[in-house]
Point group: C2
Chain length 200, copies 2
Amino acid sequence: MTTAKRDTYTPETLLSVAVQVFNERGYDGTSMEHLSRAAGISKSSIYHHVAGKEELLRRAVSRALDGLFGILDEEDARVGRPVERLEYVVRRMVEVLIAELPYVTLLLRVRGNTDTERWALERRREFDHRVAELLKAAAADGDVREDIEVRLVTRLVFGMINSIVEWYRPDGRGMNEREVADAVAQLAFGGLREAGDGRG
Amino acid sequence: MTTAKRDTYTPETLLSVAVQVFNERGYDGTSMEHLSRAAGISKSSIYHHVAGKEELLRRAVSRALDGLFGILDEEDARVGRPVERLEYVVRRMVEVLIAELPYVTLLLRVRGNTDTERWALERRREFDHRVAELLKAAAADGDVREDIEVRLVTRLVFGMINSIVEWYRPDGRGMNEREVADAVAQLAFGGLREAGDGRG
DNA sequence: AGAGTAACCGAACGATCGGTCGGGACAAGG
DNA sequence: CCTTGTCCCGACCGATCGTTCGGTTACTCT
């Protein structure tokens, strides 16, 4: 087995440390000195594994974007009634978001100060647009309410899903991915008010 | 009238410029040089009006927090059935969020690197807690669904509301505060699926 | 006109930024 | 043994960070 070499960093293991610090302090608020302390190696040693700070960001957001766009390639997201494809995508978004939590967290916080950040924002908009089209198709079928604008609904549902990165923490006794996905889908499609009760 | 003096900066007018730049580049990503260029005065002149960068942040998040906590003091948020008080608070949150958009935007992006940021995070948690108690009371009355955990629902609804800062832009022909508030309330309480149609 | 002061400026401060460089420690292969 | 290449280090680079300071401009008041 060739993988059992030295106990040292790879670009991937270093990335996992860096992303964690990025999420705690913010990308701009994180210095290479902070990263070196968190990783336990010197600042200059980091440059042995990656080209620089921005490459770490690029690797992180790429991983997040690959996970999200991968959803759209899955069969249940491509065939069937739009409303059911939509619900599948929503559930899978929650699952991917939790599975790749730190990477997606970082993706959702980029502001657009560098080329890498602007590229990430562009890809995000592209993904949002793909899901919005799905919602529009479901509305055309009459399967989702049309009294609220499609773009607005898309943004609000995305807001609900994306907010997961602000509070979900995978600490054993908490809820798992599936449970969160169920709750999000139920709330998004079914609403908050007690079913059959009406407006008190 | 003593207010018509010179055409110059006050701490308030300087703040409005600073908050805009903070939101574009992120607080950590904004230098005093950036602020001076945006304000059209020299870097050192800024210190004539405010003590420093962090005071600008503190003034901004204070304004946002005052707006939000003010909602809880309004009569419709204090008396009546919890579910109706909750819906009122949700609508008012949207309105305040839009009325004080740049300030609330900045508040929602604070990470906790400085004392000011940690104080802002603490106040935010306090506000969230107050609204969560309202939701809990509504659930006790049987007015909102109880199959989803109260804490989880609170967070998801907050996520939906707070996401407004990510896309709402007050450009004349867009929707106004009331319309957005209606959409949020309808989606949060009524759900996405077509009413009376069920899950076909 | 002259005094007082609010508003502003350029230059510079020490500290820290992201990144570079030459070299040392260490394991693998001969 | 010695070479080779990976991994890491301290020292240092120019640039930029938030902030300070001495001094100038421009307006108000008497």
